[in-house]
Structure formats: C-alpha cells, structure tokens
Amino acid sequence: MHTIKLTPEQLEEFGAEMDTIRRRIVADLGEADADYIRKIVKYQRGFEVAGRTMFYLPPLWPAAVAALSVSKILDNMEIGHNVMHGQYDWMGDPGLNSRMYEWDNVCPSDQWKYSHNYIHHTFTNILGKDRDIGYGILRMDEDQPWHPYYLGNPLYAFALMVFFEWGVALHDLEVENLVAGRRTFADNKPLHRGIMRKVKRQALKDYLLFPALTGPLFPLTFAGNATANLVRNIWAFNIIFCGHFPTGVATFSIEETEGESRGQWYYRQLLGSANITGSRLFHVMSGNLSHQIEHHLFPDIPARRYPEIAKDVRRICEKYDLPYNTGPLHRQLGSVFGKIVKLALPGRPGRKTAKPDRVPDSAVAA
C-alpha cells in the first residue's frame, strides 16, 4: 500500500495546478480537435471498407486482415474508448457523443461505460473497489491474498489476451463475486440481454454476413475477420496492461482513500498509472492510452491533447518530487509480464520494490 508523500497543503496546491491545466485545455477546445477526430473516423471507415473489399481477392488476404485490424483498433481505442469518455460531447455531434456511440466490440457500450468510466476511473487502483486490478481473475497486486488458483496466473492472462473483447464483455457480470456468493445470478439477469444482443450483432456481421457475401471465399473471410478481432484483442490487452500494472505503479486501500480531496484524487490517478513512450503513430494506434497518466488525470479531455498536457504534468511531478512512470513498450510489457509470473507464486515479492521507480527523463519521447 501507498503512503502519501505530500502534506495536505501541498496536495491542495497540487490539485489546483491540475485544475488550471484542465481549465486551460477546455477553454481551448475547438475546430482542431473536431477536425482531428473526424479525420480519424474517416481513416477508420476507410480501412474498414478497404479491408472488407480486399477479401474478394484471395492474394490480398494479409492486406485485408491488416486493414481490418487497423480499423478495429482505431474504432476501439482512439475513437470508441475516447468518445465514450465524453471527450467530444462538447461538439454536440450525435455521431461522436458518449451517450450514443456504440463500438465495434462485443461489450455493449452502456455496460462498459459503467464499469470503466464510473468504477475504474473513480476508484482507480483502490484494491477491493477497482475491479480492473486483475479483472477478477488475475493476481496483479501483492496485497491480493495468494491462493493456489493463482498458480495459473500466466495462463489466465494469456487467455484474457486472446479473448480480450469477451473478457471485457463478461467483466460486468462479476463472475468472481458470483463464485464467492457476493453476487447472485438474478443480479446479472438485466445485463444478459444487452450482452446477448450485442454479441449476436457482432457475430452475425463478422462471422456470417460478410463471409457469406464473399461466396466461395467464405472460410477465408471468416478466418480473416476472426484474425482481425484477435489482432485487436492482443493489441488492446497489451496497451491496457501497461497502463496500471508496470512495476512502481501504486495501489491504495479503501481506508486511506475515504473522504479524499480533489488533490488526493489527482495524486492517486497520477501514481496509479503508467505511460508508454513511442512515435506519434504509436500514440494514435494506442488511442493515446500510451498517456495513461494524463488520461487518468483528465479522462474527459480529448486524448490528442495528452502529449501537450504531459509536459506540464512532468514539470509538476518534478516540483513535488513525485514519480512519473514511463518507458518504452518493451520495458513496460516486460515489467507487467514479470509481475504476472511473480504474483502466481505465494508471498509478497513486490515488497522490496514497493517504492515507485524514478524513470530518467531521457526515457521520455518528445
């Protein structure tokens, strides 16, 4: 667990500085942000149509899968995730509105918004409240008590990666609480219908209609669509696991976060998240979730602003001597997979390194 390093006065000042960044960006939102997201939507639809079309030409199968994968990744991350956070609600465009948007994913958007926007973003990294710590199936924090079940930690993580969109869809059913008797089957009943409807639509489109439209190429198109969904699952899983699980990211207890102030909330978001460095294209393909820290500080600000916000956040971190967890993808991933393996075994291996790492400035991309 984490002990807060700032005094209450410092925390208040720290919170006020974050609020200032927020106000500055919100006041500046306009055409450039609208043009950007509309351009991304155009690319996404373009890749999707190109991918679906290229399935008619068997030699282009790999290109078709690539295009469709890119389309699904953009749809889920830079568009879906961010639009459903309400980042573009200020535009008043129903096509980019958090209440209306539905993504190309088996998890129904309204259920995702509850578990993600509300539960995960409000109670980030509070063990016992944030169900994104291990998603109810993994041991991702040394304070989660060990159980022989967790010997399968790497195996479960691999399965979650392959079936990530299904994991996200089933996340709301809280299967772990069902098994533990804290939740009843009846509690889940209202959710079943929404999930089934969405699953049917997604499956009908990807595994029946589009393959059927290619006639004799049905099996190839079917396999191509499945591959694109798989690629998206693997990519999304990896980016998202780098957001909160690399070594050095802090977790918090329910007791220490009771009645927390605005400043404390910002502090928890900052220390509970980690970034990934990379090129501009990499940031777009990750939905700018490579700036998980900035996303958690300002979840409803358009994600394309995170790189510019990051400069101020790093300056504030230096001022208060707070860690800013970032690194290239391979290092963050290595750290996450190390943790998955270590925590499969009993004990509290993280204890010695519980102090968040300082990452040298040189590790940060421009």
């Binding site: 535009m91 008043g92 465009d93 997604q202 009908l204 489109k205 209609l209 589009f210 439209l213």
Partner: protein, 359 residues
C-alpha cells in the same frame, strides 16, 4: 437511388453495425442518407434589413430524400456546426406552403442578437452549407377539410406558420374567406409585407389587417375583432405570437369556457411566472439557490450551469432532465406535478417551493 435507398433501409444494414449505414454514407456525400435528414442551403433571401435591427431572411433548403415532407404550420429542429465546432439545435417554423417527401422548403428566421443559430444562418452561412434536421413536427396545422372561414391572428415572427398556411390555401385555391390580423412594430419591420399586400389586393378573398400599435394602431380588443369578424368565437382561428398577444386573445375566445375553435401556438413561451420561494438544488453539481420562480433552465444558467437546451419553448425535449424531488409547474399549461424521478423539460418548468434537479 430508390432501389439503393430501399436496400440501405433494409436488414442489410446489419453489415454496418454498430455504427449504422448513415455514418458511412455521410463520409462519401453529406447529402446521402438512409435514415437521418440533412439539407443543403440553396438560397438566402433577405426579407427585412432595417439598420440597427436584427435582419430577417428566408432560407431555401434542399433536403435529403429522407425528408418526409411537411404540413404548413409545422416546425423543424435544425442543427448546425457553428464556428468552434459546436453543433447547436434550434426549432424553426417552416414558411413554405408545404412540401412532399424530398421537396425543397423554406425557413424564415430573424437573426436575434442572442440567437446563435439564426445569426449564423442569416449573417454568415453561405449557399452550400449543410444542416442537420429532424422530420417536421407540430399540431399547429390546418385540418384536412379546410373550414369555410379562417381567422389568423399573429404577432411579430408568429406570422410565419400562418403565412405557410395562407400560401397553402392559395395554392389549393381555397374558395372561402380568410381574415388575417397581424400585429407588428412598424411597416419596416413587417416580414412578407409585399407578398401580403399583393395577396390582399388580388381578390383571393383575404381580408388583411396589418396593425402597428407603436404607430397608433390599436392593440387587440375583443370589440375590434367582433367588428372585423362577427361572432368570431364560432370561427376557426389560428393564433400565434408572443405571450402578451396570446394572453390578450385567449380570454376573448374562452369567455364562455374552453373553445376548440381556437388553436394556439406560442411564438415565445410565457415568462415563467412560477412562485418564488424555497430552494432549488442541482444534485450533480452540488449547487443550491433560492428559487426565483423563473424556469429551471434560466435558474440553472443563472447559477453558472450550462445545461443542454434547444427551442427553449417546450417542444424539442433537448433540455429534458430528471427532477428528483419537489413540485414543478408547466408554464405552458399551468399543470403541476410532484412525482419523484420525473423527466421534465426544464425550459418550461418552474419550481413550486423546494425542488431538486439532476443537473
């Protein structure tokens, strides 16, 4: 496009799930749509341009073929992307005589200083501008069987729906009588003035009365109306104007109780004259204020909140919010309601005593 249209509206759209086929079509051409209605501005005609006064213009739109047409007197919700990438929606009355599916229609609007949408369309928009529309709506229309004698009483911009009806009557070669009483500030402010005068002098049976109370014309009185239209209470009447006019005319018709000959549309809603007193709480933002008796929308704005709104007159439902507790009064109908967790239109609801809104 009709075969393609049928196909695009069929079950084949499962292919476009979850975004829907319109999200793809609009990227190719904004005038292609399977469900949504959009329109391109094809002509701007300035009706009134008095220096120092808000200009009035009639805009002609070519809608997508998803437009189902309109009956004269109806209105449409129009959304437009304003500079700064903010899309706003407002309601406007259709001023043309009626349109069939896919037909062009006109909208006449005054560019009020605080009307962001009307100002943009009248002063800045260029031919080619694409806007987003609802289907036409509203019950302030002529019946299928047109009565022999019709009275229109209108004030200010409230003339627009009556004008649409009058144009439609002329097109249909209505053989009966039409009495048109309109109140305006001055001849210079009079929209459709030339057209009205032409209509009244060409023997269509339209008895036109343009009244300018600020220039010595007499304000509405039942006696005056009785002089022009004997037994007016038994004549089908369409009344549209600001609250002052409606409040003067309605009692004249309803002296002997409710009168279904009179159809009313407020051009602007009456000032909420709710009872002040008690506390108005905005749950989500944690703000509380003294209840001033104004509409909840106005009080929310006064408290620094920015709730979504559209028509500000109780027709478009853009501002719908949940009232969690307390009693509210509908300023249009006077009805009160004290049900908890009720969906209310905050632009036409004022609190009666303590009240809490999820805003």
């Amino acid at each position: 496009m009709s075969i393609a249209g049928t196909l695009l509206r069929s079950r084949a759209v499962a292919l476009a799930s979850p975004h829907g086929v319109d999200r793809y079509l609009e990227l190719v051409n904004p005038m292609w749509a399977a469900h949504e209605v959009r329109a391109r501005l094809v002509e701007i005609h300035h009706e009134v341009d008095v220096p120092g006064e808000p200009p009035v213009a009639t805009l002609t739109f070519q809608p997508t073929n998803t437009w189902r047409g309109h009956r004269p007197g109806q209105y449409v919700q129009l959304s437009v992307d304003l500079p700064g990438a903010r899309r706003l929606t407002r309601c406007f009355t259709l001023s043309s005589a009626g349109s069939r599916p896919g037909d062009r229609f006109t909208v006449t609007m005054r560019a009020n200083p605080d009307g962001e949408v009307s100002r943009f369309l009248v002063e800045q928009a260029a031919v080619g501008q694409v806007v987003h529309l609802s289907q036409a709506a509203g019950d302030f229309v002529l019946p299928e069987a047109v009565p022999e004698h019709i009275v229109f009483i209108t004030g200010g911009s409230g003339i627009t729906p009556a004008m649409a009806m009058l144009r439609s009557l002329l097109l249909r070669t209505h053989r009966g009588r039409v009495t048109f009483v309109h109140y305006a500030r001055s001849p210079e402010h009079q929209i459709f003035r030339a057209e009205l005068e032409e209509i009244s002098t060409t023997g269509y049976g339209v008895d036109l009365h343009l009244v300018y109370p600020e220039q010595g014309g007499r304000n509405f009185s039942p006696m005056e109306l009785e002089r022009i239209v004997p037994n007016f209470r038994d004549v089908d009447t369409w009344l549209c104007g600001p609250a002052g006019l409606v409040e003067a005319v309605r009692p004249a018709y309803e002296a002997d109780g409710p009168n279904d000959r009179l159809r009313v549309e407020y051009f602007k809603p009456p000032r909420a004259s709710g009872t002040a007193g008690g506390r108005l709480a905005f749950d989500r933002s944690g703000i509380e204020a003294e209840n001033s008796g104004e509409s909840i929308l106005e009080q929310a704005e006064a408290a620094g909140l920015k709730p979504t709104f559209g028509c500000r007159m109780g027709i478009c439902f853009s501002c719908t919010a949940t009232k969690t507790e307390g009693t509210v009064r509908n300023v249009l109908t006077g009805e009160t309601s004290d049900r908890p967790d009720e969906q209310i239109r905050i632009c036409v609801s004022s609190p009666e005593g303590d009240c809490a809104i999820d805003l």
